[in-house]
Subunit: 485 residues, 2 copies
């Protein structure tokens, strides 16, 4: 080998090596299937460290020119066209491995694949309403009142004005929160609000606190954004705010993410004195609070629940809610309210991300929120949810007796179950899928404690018994296998 | 000062100093309005570099405890509650400066503010249709055929199946592109498709090529994602593909972003032989192409335009289009098609970002795309757009004669105008706004060459003359002022 890299050049040596082989591969000197020199040989030839050669070959690999096959070395993968030209289609496998946004974890991906499939799974995994709980009449009414002769261009990026006014009225009437159309941002569900907050208000290396267990654990966005996350264990009365103080002192946490009412997944509610203390701590240390409140209107005993935002005197809470868990998840109407500076910053980002929400769902949502029939619907919804919860708990007790334990929630859509004994979580998840039932394994939500989440809102009343029966079978089979070893 | 930082501790010295003052401020030893020791004094007292003190004070500033006032030093800003407790509301000003997603540039922010306001600006800045060009009857028809008794839960995250099938048929019939429902992702306009590609397929430090000028310049996402962008000048025949080869050899560019047909903003179309050459280069060097194609169906002479994707034998093009420029921007229906691996990766990301698109606009879009009336609408649209273009050019010639030059586009919605002489761009932009007319300054789109973009699609025919008159006044006034100096 006569060629040598120029060590005095500004171009890194590994790039020079990669360029050298790239040219030779493109010229056809190394045809598809041929091997490049072994790392050891080339390192000796060029008088370089082996790590430099590895970097060069990795670079060729990321360019889609070679594959590194264990035991076989570095093989040229470039194909040659019928006319004898070398062809090098973009290496999509490499592209999809890049990117700021990381992939969902495998279990979450499986759950989404199942939800998207045609097969009739009994689904205790997805947080949405069953067909009979949707306010179909209300939707049709709102829909029929639309005037489609109105302007069909872009909506205001912050959200349709009439919808923002309806949301402000709704927040005032139903959740005791003062806001105005200018302090509200319409988002694609609560999910997008969380995304915008993380992508716009925090920077890599910042520390935040999230509940343990929590829906947040299933969101790769925290890691994608390079945040350091610290856990706040959730007990019967929710998180312990004093732990925030010590986290602040140690790690200077900048933001706390909480779902205080009918918490996902535990179903617990943050005790009133703890809510007060959380706010005190927030304004003592200047820590922002993000309150996710999808469930507060589902209280089975109709007790009005005080959101943190309704108790927030100092504007330290960013409040997120949506129509997804009370009207229709398919509309994708969520919102947040907070200080003007934040709403403006996030509106600018939403323009970049999707140029604002679709118009028609916003017009429909505005009608729905102003309808006098919403109260009736919420009443029916609470009764319907409570019935599903009762059916689920009854079936669990029948099938599993004292092998299962849970805290009985007084609202929301999730039942957090502890399953006794020794069993393999992933095995049980897959076995349940084979039997036609899906649930959310606790580890997806950050739990290390042999829990599973059963979301009862979506399953047809008539199928709950059968679903829990299959679920119990999967569990017992896994436990017995483990014990018989 | 008795306290000294512990230089042997693992905690950085500047953090120790910041912690020290934080405790004292919180204790009330330094009340609101009081000053901390000057940087110089404290550095001498603690026997440290002044830069360490600056870092400590910056940290206190980012915690919202102090403000650094030029000429006055470092002032405690913490307020004290009526009960005498120190209160420290989250410092939102600091939060909004953080974040991965950077802000839009000031001119773009001004344009969006104007679009969101109630004042009747004559708007040559926003890329959407005017009220008379929307297919209102078609929309009403599609709307009335909806059955709202159908399931109101989450749609498939990749997009409603019927809509994806309609898009595949549409692409086949209107744009000669082969695709299938499984290779299509429904997005919130083309904007979100661009975002997803950048956030999922590229990593910080990657090099990409974009057209100059280009809509891409107005998107902070390239910089937010840490990409290195290289320019491909757009001439009468579009970009010169050979420049991609040299960019690849120098910078290993991984992706090329192009809008080949009725280019935004120049209105030019990439010549056929250049389109072929671009594809050759893509598959010779393995460079991915992103083709943004919002305008190809607006050809004034009805000539069918060959998209890159229709000529792509090897699957190296990611193709993006939408209904925004031909039906309704407010629906927010866009789509992309590409290799399965890419579509799956981006679908997973869309789940994280917004949990899929809203249902109703997708059902309506599926109806629209399958309607036999779409052809008629497109015919009317072309006539309507061409008329607006003609009115705009006539008015420009009347008002400005040979002081303005432009290439006459044969489709699309933008007219790219070169204004002669010496004039200040920002001054002209602001003056035009004062006169009630908005346009897009060339620099927003990356141009350094005294150009402006006039988007004629949105302005009412009857207002075009008046709009151009005001525009011309603003230009002449700026030019005269500059010359009289």
């Amino acid at each position: 080998m006569e060629w040598k890299p120029d060590k005095s050049s500004q171009i890194p040596v590994y790039i020079q090596i990669s360029d050298y082989f790239e040219t030779r591969i493109m010229n056809g000197e190394y045809p598809a299937g041929s091997s490049l020199p072994s790392e050891r040989t080339l390192a000796a030839l060029l008088d370089l460290n082996r790590s430099t050669i590895i970097s060069a070959y990795d670079q060729l690999n990321s360019l889609g020119l070679v594959k590194r096959v264990k035991g076989f070395g570095t093989i040229v993968t470039l194909s040659t066209s019928a006319e004898g030209h070398v062809k090098r289609v973009p290496n999509w496998e490499e592209y999809v491995k890049s990117g700021f946004l990381q992939l969902n974890d495998p279990i979450t991906r499986t759950i989404h694949k199942i939800v998207g499939s045609d097969k009739p799974y009994i689904n205790f995994a997805i947080g949405e309403l069953s067909a009979d709980l949707f306010p179909v009449t209300l939707m049709q009414e709102a829909h029929s009142q639309l005037e489609l002769s109105q302007y069909l261009g872009y909506e205001h990026i912050q959200g349709n004005l009439k919808l923002r006014e309806s949301i402000a009225n709704h927040l005032n009437r139903y959740r005791n929160i003062e806001s105005s159309s200018s302090s509200i941002l319409v988002t694609s569900g609560a999910q997008q609000a969380l995304q915008l907050i993380i992508q716009c208000l925090l920077k890599p290396g910042d520390s935040v606190a999230i509940e343990d267990p929590s829906y947040s654990f299933s969101l790769p966005i925290f890691h994608s954004a390079g945040l350091r996350t610290f856990r706040l264990p959730v007990g019967e009365e929710g998180i312990d705010p004093e732990q925030i103080v010590s986290l602040y002192k140690q790690h200077k946490i900048k933001m706390v993410f909480v779902n205080p009412i009918f918490h996902n997944p535990t179903g617990t509610t943050l005790a009133y004195n703890r809510r007060k203390r959380l706010l005190d701590i927030s304004t003592k240390y200047g820590i922002a609070i993000v309150e996710d409140d999808p469930y507060s209107l589902t209280s089975f005993n109709q007790e009005p629940m005080s959101t943190l935002k309704s108790m927030d005197q100092d504007g330290s809470v960013l409040y997120i809610s949506s129509l997804s868990k009370i009207v229709s998840s398919g509309l994708r109407i969520g919102w947040m309210t907070g200080p003007q500076a934040v709403i403006q910053r996030l509106t600018d980002a939403k323009q970049q991300l999707d140029f604002g929400h679709s118009n028609i769902p916003q017009w429909i949502a505005a009608q729905l929120l102003s309808s006098g029939e919403l109260d009736n619907h919420l009443m029916q919804l609470r009764v319907g949810l409570q019935k599903k919860l009762q059916l689920t708990m009854n079936a669990l007790r029948t099938e599993l007796g004292d092998k299962v334990r849970f805290h009985i929630p007084s609202g929301g859509i999730h039942l957090w179950c502890e399953l006794q004994g020794d069993w393999d979580e992933l095995q049980m998840f897959n076995l349940a899928i084979d039997k036609g039932v899906v649930f959310t394994p606790g580890s997806t939500l950050g739990s290390q404690s042999r829990h599973v989440r059963l979301t009862y809102s979506k399953v047809d009343d008539l199928l709950i018994g059968q679903g829990i029966q299959r679920f119990a079978e999967a569990y017992l089979q896994c436990r017995d296998e483990k014990n018989s070893r």
